[in-house]
């Protein structure tokens, strides 16, 4: 499978070409280069995945991991070394498919969405860079390579969020995203260092005999790595960057902040899963609790946001938390005995990437049409944008967990895994799932149903109350709708993929079977959520909605402000670190450290000034001192 190297090299070349020569390129050429590269990458990824799975299982009934490339990149001491290479395993093959598919869709979509934007070539260059780094991350042969690409992913996310670099909000958001994830990466790095020191290797599969002694510190290392993952995957309380990251272009949000990069944390935990399950099951449970809390928190916040991208952002946080929970509730490596969550998590990752990508691209299409992110500027769009409407609805149904759309299957597996772990966890996650259905349909109704903002404005204009004719919403061009349709199609059928055949916690084949009880319950709950949303929002904001808003004013306000988590972080960074630590240190340096040196210099100067008059140049004075000195010395010599 030597050709897999091309999967990495092609986007890198595309990045270099577009980055260096982009300025002299017409937009069309740049877009074409970027997109064609991605077509090739996608084809190669599918080919690699198919070839890999088609090769079949080995004697022990698992898909053998292959490493077509692995070379020493940077030696860290006599035994440790950072290697660079390509590792194809079931999950990395699956990730290749996810990333290349979504990325290709985004590339095509952006041809329309970003048309005529200043910096179009730069945009495609960054997309290529991101694709390169994300692919490098998933095919990493060792934890350090993963970290290397992890950082690259972070920086491409930074560059893309800050794409509109003249917008202050985008600048702040990109900075925030980078610094928050960087902060989390610090723990990741320390985790890696501990891991490397005690196991003597950075590879994912250390020697068993080493693990026997290193086992005691592994939980610490793995917990620290999880914190790194939590940063990238926006787990509470490190989630604050993700909603702000929506300042970037919408296709970027679809690619990076919905489908691929944010699941890197999940992928990391999945990668290290054998170690987690073998040596640190208690850390897995911590992950489960953190995930469950995040899922609930994000779902509540998503229910009251008015910016449609923010709703999607919180929904992403919540869904990723589902995947984390699924991994966290695993109690054994055997999918039949408590290891189901692993498969469920990966399955959900796969389906979520597709339908969340679709949602974001749909949202992009809407924003493209109405030139606003705010729900108040939307409403009644279904007749203006039929394709967007239908695909968006499909995605909403999928995320809400309605069969036969893909989300139902993966979420069902997660819920089953949760019930297997403990009933409270199952119930808790089911409620969050119902909330998912509610807020997604709230969003759906607010956008596509209710009173049309356009029509209201038009009426105002015709009555003369408004001086400019409102912009009529229109369906997006084919370059944008085709990716929507493709993703919608995948969303419809992905649920029927026998996912367990390819990926499971111990690598052996596992046949998915729907647990009827859990499935029924979750469908009912989802339907209830949808029904509630229908009542409240189908005809605009009904009286019931107003009443509820009135009664729950304070909690809604708190939820709208994301329970003031951003303010807490702001307080820590601005007030404590910036004003409380950094500024005093700078002052201390200038005035105390430097001041004491200056004082030394001043003292020397003063002392000089003090004895300078003695060098008066007056020979008489000199001679008086001279004679006095002679007498003194004589006296000393004489009396001693």
């Amino acid at each position: 499978m030597e050709y897999t190297i091309l999967i990495l090299i092609l986007p890198l070349l595309s990045f270099l070409l577009l980055g260096l020569a982009g300025k002299i390129m017409p937009h069309k050429v740049a877009g074409t280069i970027g997109t064609l590269t991605l077509v090739a990458v996608t084809a190669l990824s599918y080919y690699a995945a198919i070839e890999y799975f088609a090769a079949g299982r080995d004697a022990s009934g698992v898909f053998a991991e292959t490493m077509p490339y692995n070379f020493h990149w940077l030696p860290l001491g006599d035994t440790l070394c950072i290697d660079m290479g390509i590792l194809i395993s079931p999950i990395s093959a699956m990730m290749l498919i996810v990333i290349s598919t979504v990325s290709l869709m985004v590339h095509i979509y952006s041809l329309g969405y970003m048309e005529g934007e200043r910096g179009f070539q730069r945009y495609y260059a960054f997309l290529s860079l991101f694709t390169f780094s994300m692919l490098g991350l998933v095919v990493a042969t060792n934890i350090f390579q993963m970290y290397v690409f992890w950082e690259l992913v972070g920086v491409s996310s930074y560059l893309l969020i800050g794409f509109y670099y003249t917008k202050p909000a985008a600048i702040a958001a990109s900075k925030k995203a980078f610094i928050v994830t960087r902060f989390a990466d610090l723990f990741f790095l320390i985790g890696i260092l501990i891991y490397g020191y005690y196991t003597g290797t950075y590879s994912f599969t250390p020697q068993t005999d080493v693990l026997a002694t290193a086992g005691a510190v592994l939980p610490t290392a793995l917990l620290l790595m999880f914190i790194g993952g939590a940063g990238k995957s926006a787990m509470f309380p490190l989630h604050i960057w993700l909603p702000d990251a929506m300042e970037g272009p919408t296709p970027v949000s679809a690619l990076i902040h919905a489908a691929t990069m944010v699941v890197a944390g999940v992928y990391l935990v999945a990668r290290m899963f054998p170690l987690f399950i073998g040596y640190a099951p208690e850390v897995l449970h911590i992950i489960a609790y953190v995930g469950a809390f995040t899922a609930l928190y994000a779902a509540i916040v998503a229910c009251v946001q008015t910016d449609i991208k923010r709703v999607l952002a919180f929904s992403t946080i919540s869904q990723i938390a589902f995947m984390m929970v699924a991994l966290g509730v695993c109690t054994s490596a055997d999918p039949h005995e408590g290891g189901l969550g692993y498969m469920a998590s990966m399955f959900h990752l796969f389906t979520h990437a597709m339908f969340k990508g679709l949602l974001f691209l749909g949202a992009g299409s809407i924003i493209h049409a109405v030139h606003s992110n705010e729900k108040s500027h939307m409403g009644g769009l279904r007749k203006y944008m039929p394709v967007t409407h239908i695909t968006f609805l499909i995605a909403c149904l999928a995320i809400a967990g309605i069969p036969p759309f893909s989300g139902f299957f993966s979420k069902d597996e997660i819920l089953v895994a949760c019930y297997n772990f403990s009933t409270p966890m199952g119930v808790f996650m089911s409620i969050v799932a119902a909330m998912t259905a509610f807020y997604m349909f709230r969003l759906y109704y607010l956008i596509f149903w209710g009173k049309s903002h356009y029509e209201e404005q038009l009426a105002l204009y015709e009555r003369g109350a408004c001086d400019h004719e409102p912009h009529k919403p229109h369906e997006s061009p084919a370059r944008m709708t085709i990716p929507l349709i493709i993703l919608a199609a995948i969303t419809c059928v992905a649920g029927f993929i026998p996912f367990g055949e390819f990926i499971s916690s111990n690598g052996r084949a596992y046949t998915i079977h729907i647990d009827k009880g859990v499935a029924t319950a979750s469908i009912i709950l989802a339907a209830a959520g949808i029904a509630l949303a229908t009542i409240m929002y189908m005809k605009g904001e009904s009286r019931i909605t107003a009443k509820i808003n009135q009664v729950l004013r304070t909690p809604i306000k708190a939820a709208y402000h994301r329970f003031y988590m951003d303010e807490v972080w702001m307080f820590i960074t601005k007030k404590i670190i910036f004003k409380g630590i950094s500024a005093p240190i700078a002052w201390f340096d200038r005035h105390i450290v430097d001041g004491s040196l200056d004082l030394l210099a001043k003292t020397a100067q003063k002392a000089g000034a003090l004895i300078r008059p003695m060098q008066s140049g007056n020979v008489q004075t000199y001679s008086i001192w001279f004679l006095a000195g002679v007498l003194l010395i004589s006296a000393i010599l004489f009396f001693l």
């Binding site: 008489q620 004075t621 008086i624 004679l627 006095a628 002679v630 007498l631």
Partner: protein, 167 residues
């Protein structure tokens, strides 16, 4: 009482008084004249020691040459500018104290030191012997310092002309 002692005492008295006037007089011309007395007194001492040539040289070079130069410069510069103001009291006291202490110390040392002086013979120095010593090249002879002296005098003459020359 020895006549020599009387002569010495009167010479010493004149010299010390003249010296004191020389360094305290507020008028430069007077100070110069007092200096002349000191120099003559010194010549007298040389004669008492039977160093007649030395005494003669003292009178001609010092009293005759140097003092004339002093007078010359004083007159050249003019009376108005040769204004001998005394220094500040502090320095005056300091100078007095240091000079007095030094003098006391020196006299004390002279009194307590045994110079192993032999009896004064009163033999003068013959001019021939002096000439031989100055021009001789042997041990205890002074041809080289003599020549160096002459060069020094030449250099000083040239130097003095150079410095004082009007540009």
């Amino acid at each position: 009482m020895d006549i020599n002692l009387i002569i010495f005492a009167s010479l010493a008295f004149v010299m010390i008084v003249a010296a004191l006037f020389a360094v305290t007089s507020s008028r430069i011309m007077r100070a110069t004249t007092e200096l002349l007395f000191v120099l003559f007194g010194t010549a007298g001492l040389y004669f008492m020691l039977h160093y007649t040539f030395l005494g003669a040289a003292q009178i001609t070079v010092y009293a005759g040459g140097i003092v004339v130069m002093f007078i010359f410069v004083v007159l050249l510069i003019g009376k108005g500018s040769v204004d001998v103001t005394q220094t500040s009291l502090r320095r005056y006291l300091a100078g007095t104290a240091v000079a007095l202490t030094g003098m006391v110390a020196a006299i004390y040392l002279i009194n307590t030191t045994d110079f192993q002086a032999v009896n004064f013979t009163g033999d003068g120095v013959e001019m021939k012997e002096l000439g031989m010593t100055l021009m001789g090249t042997g041990k205890y002879d002074f041809i080289l310092p003599f020549e160096v002296m002459s060069v020094l005098l030449l250099a000083c003459t040239v130097g003095a002309i150079m410095i004082a020359r009007k540009k």
